[in-house]
Structures are given as structure tokens and as C-alpha cells.
């Protein structure tokens, strides 16, 4: 039972990283797109790729919280007590991101747009950094068991956490760039395809380098995790590296669809690898998954809800995609929006 709950938890983390991560990464590219003139075009592609999905991917995060507080309540209490600061920053960042993204579309003056655009971009970097640091804090065993607070600062300002934070930002940017290549292609904008392709390759190399350096950081700072990564989880580490290199090659050969899948695969393998490496601890070396687990009644309920979610939501989402692909109804679709000015179509999202 407790193992199943842990698996469900990691599915949530996986979903958030692969789907939500790309949203955050898009914000990073927004940040570094340059001045108003130069950055205008890449920003337009970025807007396109996240505009219609106003923060729906945070559902994954909520799911992670719910699984944690129902199925592993004591671990959850320890985490929130110890990591109060980065969690608070992340919460603020999420609201700020949503609000400023919406606002930057609605305000008209360039100066205001810039302010809100900057808020949006900075929070997009801050939030994944915090989540990465939180993962680092947990993985390096800095969150003590028993619902007591560990050190409020050292717990997340330490080598593993800094590594986690930087890696998270790199990975998000990498995912986003790869997805943005795809989006730019959908918009048939070849200049932007090239623009993001170069950046995707750069991000892939940087993320790979950080991950490689990270191995040495972990060897010194998070031994349990390091041991796990070099034994139990080794196949996953190798898989991740292979996917990463693969996506790099596919990018160079301009196979964008393949690159997308390989990139997602690389990230997914790292995350599963993290889970396997710290198994069977939920808080390494102080609390095992089994000891942390709630009574079977609770876990059963969470599993039922998860299964129902799969049964309800997947068909619904599939239906949505079918609608999206499908043409307009002949008798009704004729008066589609005449091209409105940019302000008009964007005002809401």
C-alpha cells in the first residue's frame, strides 16, 4: 500500500516536472530574450505556447500536496516546518506569475508591460529554483523526521540544494526550449525555430554539464543519494543520459518531434532515478516510506480518487484535443474572429 502511494506521489512529481517545468522554462527564455525590440518575436512565440493554459499545470502540484498530506502526513509536516522559506517564496512566485502574465497582456503602456513582464519572468525562474532546492534538501537528508523543524536556512542553502535549484532551472529551460521549437514550427516561423533550436542545444549542454558536476557534489554532500544513484538507480541515470544525448542529436538533425520526446524522457528518468535512489526513505535516513505511511483506509481513498481521476479526466482531455484538431462546424464556424488587434485577442490570457 505505502509503496503504491509513493509511486502515485512520484507520478505527480513527474507530471509537474515534465508539463509544469516547460511552463516555467518558457518564463526563463522570456527573461533572457533581450530588450523590447529584440525580444519581441521570441516573446510572441512564448506567449502563444503558454497563453491558453493559464497555470493549469499547477494541478500537478496540488495533487502532490494532497498525496503528501493524506498519505505521508508526518513527512509533510516536517517538510513544511523546515522548508517554510522556500515554500513561501514558491507560493508567492506562483501567484505573481499568474497575475503578472495576465496583467502584462491587459495593460497597454509599454512601461507597464515591461514591469509585469519582468515580474513574470523573474518568478518563473524563482519558483523552479525553490522547488529544486526543496528536492535537494529532502534528498540530502536535511529534513528531520518527527514533525520538527530542521534548520530554516541551512536546510536549503547548501550544496545539494543549490545544485537542485540550478538543475531545476536548467532542466525547465531545456524542456521549454525544445517545446518552443515545436511551437515556432506550428506557427511556421522559421527564424524562431532556429532561434529556439540553438538555445535548446545550448540548454541541453548546460543541463548535462550541471548534472555531471552534480555527481561530485552529491558524492560529498548527500552520500545516501549518491550511493543509490550509483547502484540501484544507475540504469535510470544511464537512460537519462542517453535520452539527453539523443535529444541533442535529434535537435541537431532537426527532428523536433523526436527531440521533444527524448527531452521529456531524460527529465522523467532523472526524477524516477531520484525516487529509486532514496528508496526506501521518504526523508532519507530518518523516515522510511513504510513508517511514514498513513493507515490503509486513507491510502485506499487516495488511490480510488487517483483511479477515478484517470477515468474521468483522460477521456475528457482526449475529447478536448479532438475538438482542437477538428475543424469548425460548417454552419456555425463561418464568422470566426476577424483578425482583431493584438491587444484584443490577448487581453484575457
Amino acid at each position: 500500500m505505502s509503496t503504491l502511494a509513493a509511486v502515485v506521489l512520484f507520478i505527480g512529481i513527474l507530471g509537474y516536472a515534465v508539463f509544469g517545468g516547460a511552463d516555467f522554462g518558457a518564463g526563463f527564455w522570456d527573461l533572457v530574450a533581450g530588450g523590447t525590440k529584440r525580444g519581441g518575436r521570441p516573446r510572441a512565440v512564448i506567449d502563444h505556447s503558454i497563453a491558453p493554459v493559464w497555470e493549469a499545470n499547477h494541478v500537478w502540484l496540488i495533487f502532490i500536496f494532497v498525496v503528501l498530506w493524506t498519505s505521508f502526513p508526518t513527512a509533510y509536516a516536517s517538510i513544511t516546518l523546515t522548508l517554510f522559506v522556500p515554500l513561501t517564496i514558491a507560493a508567492f512566485g506562483i501567484v505573481l506569475r499568474g497575475a503578472s502574465f495576465a496583467f502584462r497582456k491587459s495593460v497597454l503602456s509599454t512601461r507597464d508591460r515591461r514591469t509585469f513582464g519582468a515580474l513574470f519572468a523573474v518568478s518563473s525562474v524563482m519558483v523552479p529554483y525553490c522547488f529544486g532546492a526543496i528536492a535537494g534538501a529532502i534528498a540530502s537528508g536535511r529534513v528531520p523526521d518527527g514533525g520538527v523543524a530542521g534548520d530554516p536556512w541551512e536546510s536549503w542553502v547548501n550544496p545539494t540544494s543549490i545544485l537542485g535549484g540550478i538543475l531545476a532551472v536548467c532542466v525547465c529551460s531545456y524542456l521549454a526550449a525544445v517545446y518552443l521549437v515545436w511551437d515556432a514550427r506550428r506557427l511556421s516561423d522559421d527564424t524562431m525555430v532556429e532561434y529556439f533550436r540553438v538555445r535548446a542545444i545550448g540548454a541541453a549542454i548546460i543541463a548535462g554539464t550541471v548534472a555531471f558536476v552534480g555527481i561530485f557534489v552529491l558524492a560529498n554532500d548527500a552520500e545516501y543519494l549518491f550511493d543509490g544513484l550509483t547502484s540501484r538507480a544507475l540504469p535510470l541515470v544511464i537512460l537519462s543520459a542517453a535520452c539527453g544525448v539523443g535529444s541533442l542529436l535529434l535537435l541537431i538533425r532537426a527532428n523536433h518531434q523526436g527531440a521533444r520526446l527524448a527531452a521529456a524522457g531524460a527529465v522523467a528518468a532523472v526524477i524516477v532515478g531520484w525516487g529509486v535512489a532514496q528508496w526506501d526513505y521518504i526523508l532519507p535516513e530518518s523516515l522510511t516510506v513504510e513508517d511514514a505511511a498513513a493507515p490503509s483506509g486513507t491510502i485506499g481513498a487516495v488511490l480510488v480518487a487517483t483511479v477515478l481521476a484517470v477515468l474521468f479526466i483522460f477521456p475528457a482531455i482526449a475529447f478536448l484535443f479532438v475538438l482542437d484538431q477538428r475543424g469548425l462546424l460548417p454552419e456555425e464556424g463561418v464568422s470566426g474572429p476577424v483578425n482583431e488587434s493584438g491587444e484584443e485577442t490577448q487581453a484575457l490570457t
Binding site: 510572441a44 513544511t80 507560493a91 506562483i94 487516495v302 493584438g342 484575457l348
Partner: protein, 493 residues
């Protein structure tokens, strides 16, 4: 750097409990304003949609289309504020979640399920306007209504569990060893509280939407479109409010039987007695005597149990140990909030009577300015009513976070920086509220401008904050023309 930070932390250390309470209360009070819209607006939209298809009514169709777009915005803001709440459970009340999360948390697993379903169907509904046949499209709206109701019922189940915890077994150390999810969700307080909240959602949502059109009518927009925009939500609210009075009455009796301390605070009863008067306003002074107010002799006793009439005994606050019941000051807050809820609720009920009376005797809605003035205020008034009801429920539970099992001060975080996060939250929410209103008004202006220019509405897929990218494949004319517009440098406008 780390030691320096630690010094800083200890300098700024302030007792977190009052701040945590305030932050929780503030963020919940904001979130709950969006909830009625998320729960009831879809139903009203479907009524308009039905009318549009059945009677080939262009005005109703326009209303339904626009409402579905506004709904998407309020839904998205509800999701953002809801996300903050889920952070807060852990950040502010870690000990509560650590000890009781395994029971209290269960309903939230289902809440997530329902709200996500709702979100997806909101997208489908908006996408469907130009992609589905009218009736098929209508039916894709039904899951929004159901999921909205079920979602809020799930959250209320969690709140009701705090009032009447059940469905778990404790060992000698007081830790939970077994959980019965069914009994957690269907706890004693849940059915009535859930009913009261769902009906409240229809009352508040109805009055809130109607009030916008009432303002429009007062400004002289008396066309059929505005009339319909008023009639549909207002009728929904006016149907719901009598039901709400009945459910509220039953809920009050449940509180009388199961949460005597809360009831004593509601009725402002310091000492146990029979023949208790119903005191309107008034408060308890430091000695715990009732001061001021207008007493209606024997009425509180009579209401608590009409069968026994004024002989019904009501337990007083002082019959409970001082540290296990609300303080006098909290009791005063509860009592005032109670007066506000029941007072405004009665007022809204009278407004509904006026409305129905006119329909019955004159076959039309009341036309007078006074009526429209009150109707435009009804939106805000009903929100205040609902907030007051929540204050009754939440402050009346003090000092318990889990009734009779855990006190709030034992549940709170030990982090002493909560006062800073609270200030941050207030600033952030002010900005969020401003954004939301700004965006909604912008939409409304845009719709009107289009109308004046004689254009039809677009179906507004660009406006959908959820769902997959709305850019169809490049061969589609609409997408390419639009992307041209988007690819202009940003500072053009």
C-alpha cells in the same frame, strides 16, 4: 551568510499564531468570493443556452457565450487562490496536517478530482461553441455544473470534519491508527453544511451576476439583452433563498445539539438557562454580562426547539472551561456575524418575495428604480452574508481547530516570520483582485465596443485560460492571420 540570516530571523521573530490565523482567514475569505461563481454560474449559463436553442433566442445565446468566457476568468483566479490555500495548510498548520492530515485530507483528494474535471469541461464548453452541434454542446456543460457542486461538497466535508471529527481510530498515544474514509467524508456536520454552502453558492452567484445587469439597467441599458441577463440569475437566486433559510434553520438546530459552545456564542448566552431571549446586536462585557442590544424574550429558546418552546435550556458559555470555549471577544464576533448573516439573509428573502409577488400579480418584474437599486446592492450584500456565515462557523469553533481534539495554538507552525508572509499576501491579493476586475471590465467593454461597431463576437477561444493550445494546424486561416498580429513587436500598441 547563514549565521547572519539566522540572527536576522530571530530579530524578526513574532508569535506566529495570531498571524497565521489572520492569514488563513484572509485568504479563505478571498477565495470564497470566487467559489459561488465557479459553482453556480455554469448552471445559469446553461439556462441561457437552453433558452437560446429552444426558442432560437439570439440574446440568450450571446449571454451564454459571454458568460462562459467570464466564467473561465473567475475560475482561473479561483484556481490560483486555491493553490495558495493548499500551500497554507502545510505552511501555517503543519502540526494539524501532520497529526490529522490522514483523515482531514481525504476529501481534498476528491476535491482535486472534481475541480480538474470542471476545469477541463469549462474548456470543452468554450471550445464547443463553434465545433459541436448545439445540443451536444449544451450537454458538455452539464458536467461543469455537477463537478462544481461535488467539488465544493468535498471541501465542505473537510471543513465539516473539523467541526465534527469522525472516521478514525486513535491509539493510546493519541495517534491515528485506522481511517474510515467514508465516515470522514460523511461526517455528522457534512450534509447540512454542504447543502447550506451549495445553496449559498446559488444565492450569491445569482445575486452577484444579476447585480451587474441591474446596474446596467439603472444606467439606461434597458434592452432585452440586459433584461434577460438580469432575469435569469436573479430568478435563480430568488428560488434559492427560501431554501437557504430552511437549511440554515436546520443547521442552527444541528449546532444547538452538537456544538453547544458555538451555539452559546451565536445566541450570546453566558449562563445556562431556559427562556433565553434572542438578543439582536449587543455584546458581552469583560465580566461576561450581556450589554445593549434588543432582546426578544424567550425567542432563542423557542427557536432552538419549538417543541419545548421557551422551556428549552441553552447551555451558557460559562458552563465550559474557559480555555475550551470561545473567549468573550470571540463570542461577540460570532454573535455580530450571526446577526449580519440572518439579518441580511432576511432582507434578501424579502427582496425575493417582492420579486415573486410582482410576477404573480403583475406578470412582470418590478420596474421601479428602488427595486433596481436594491437589486444592484444585492450582489455585494449576499457576499457579505456568506462571509458572515463563515465567521460564525470558524470563529465559533475556537479555540479548537479539530473540535475537542486539537487546539489552534498546538496546530500552528513554529516559524516566526508569518507576519511577513501575511503582509506579502495582502499586497499580492490586492494586486490579484485589481487584475481580475480590470480584465473582466476590459472584456465587457470590448464586447460592447464590438456591438457598437456592428460586429459579431468572436467565439473567444483565445480567451480560454485552460486547455490545449487553441492554435489549430497552420492551414487554418484564422490562426495564421492571428499569429501575424501576435508576432508584431510588443511595443506597437
Amino acid at each position: 551568510m547563514v549565521p547572519m540570516l539566522s540572527t536576522l530571523t530571530s530579530l524578526l521573530a513574532v508569535n506566529p499564531v495570531p498571524w497565521a490565523r489572520s492569514q488563513m482567514a484572509f485568504t479563505l475569505a478571498m477565495h470564497i468570493i470566487l467559489v459561488p461563481l465557479g459553482v453556480s454560474w455554469a448552471a445559469m449559463t446553461l439556462i441561457a443556452n437552453y433558452k437560446a436553442i429552444k426558442h432560437d433566442d439570439r440574446d440568450a445565446l450571446l449571454l451564454a457565450q459571454r458568460w462562459s468566457k467570464y466564467m473561465a476568468v473567475t475560475f482561473a483566479v479561483g484556481a490560483v487562490t486555491g493553490t495558495v490555500l493548499s500551500f497554507e495548510f502545510g505552511l501555517l498548520w503543519p502540526r494539524f496536517m501532520g497529526q490529522w492530515g490522514q483523515a482531514f485530507g481525504v476529501p481534498f483528494a476528491f476535491e482535486g478530482l472534481f475541480f480538474f474535471t470542471e476545469a477541463v469541461f469549462v474548456s470543452i464548453y468554450i471550445f464547443g461553441w463553434k465545433r459541436l452541434k448545439p445540443w451536444t454542446h449544451f450537454w458538455t456543460g452539464i458536467p461543469i455544473v455537477l463537478a462544481g457542486v461535488m467539488g465544493s461538497v468535498s471541501v465542505i466535508a473537510a471543513n465539516a470534519w473539523m467541526n465534527s471529527p469522525s472516521g478514525f481510530t486513535l491509539n493510546d498515544a493519541g495517534d491515528i491508527v485506522e481511517v474510515n474514509p467514508w465516515e470522514v467524508i460523511f461526517n455528522d456536520a457534512m450534509p447540512l453544511m454542504a447543502a447550506h454552502m451549495v445553496v449559498a453558492a446559488y444565492v450569491v452567484g445569482g445575486f452577484l451576476v444579476a447585480s451587474v445587469y441591474a446596474v446596467g439597467m439603472l444606467r439606461g441599458r434597458r434592452d432585452r439583452y440586459h433584461r434577460l441577463g438580469f432575469l435569469i440569475p436573479f430568478s435563480v437566486a430568488c428560488l434559492a433563498i427560501p431554501v437557504q433559510m430552511g437549511v440554515g434553520d436546520a443547521l442552527a438546530r444541528w449546532v444547538y445539539n452538537n456544538q453547544p459552545m458555538k451555539f452559546a456564542a451565536i445566541e450570546l448566552v453566558p449562563e445556562t438557562s431556559s427562556d433565553v431571549p434572542e438578543t439582536l446586536f449587543g455584546h458581552l462585557n469583560d465580566e461576561g454580562e450581556v450589554v445593549g442590544g434588543i432582546p426578544i424574550p424567550g425567542f432563542a429558546s423557542w427557536l432552538s426547539d419549538p417543541a419545548d418552546g421557551t422551556a428549552t435550556v441553552i447551555q451558557g458559555l460559562n458552563s465550559f472551561p474557559e480555555d475550551e470555549r470561545p473567549t468573550y471577544r470571540q463570542a461577540n464576533v460570532v454573535h455580530l456575524a450571526w446577526d449580519i448573516m440572518v439579518g441580511l439573509g432576511t432582507l434578501l428573502f424579502l427582496l425575493a418575495l417582492w420579486y415573486w409577488a410582482c410576477w404573480i400579480f403583475r406578470k412582470d418584474m418590478p420596474q421601479s428604480k428602488v427595486f433596481l437599486w436594491i437589486a444592484s446592492a444585492a450582489g455585494v450584500l449576499s457576499v457579505i452574508t456568506m462571509e458572515a456565515g463563515w465567521v460564525v462557523s470558524e470563529v465559533g469553533r475556537q479555540p479548537w481547530i479539530v473540535y475537542n481534539l486539537m487546539k489552534v495554538e498546538d496546530a500552528a507552525t513554529g516559524n516566526t516570520g508569518v507576519w511577513m508572509t501575511f503582509i506579502g499576501v495582502i499586497v499580492l491579493y490586492a494586486a490579484l483582485a485589481f487584475t481580475t476586475i480590470y480584465v473582466l471590465r476590459g472584456m465587457s467593454r470590448r464586447f460592447r465596443r464590438h456591438e457598437e461597431a456592428g460586429e459579431t463576437d468572436d467565439y473567444g477561444e483565445e480567451d480560454v485560460p485552460y486547455g490545449p493550445s487553441s492554435r489549430p494546424a497552420p492551414h487554418d486561416e484564422h490562426s495564421s492571420s492571428e499569429s501575424d498580429a501576435d508576432l508584431e513587436p510588443q511595443d506597437v500598441s
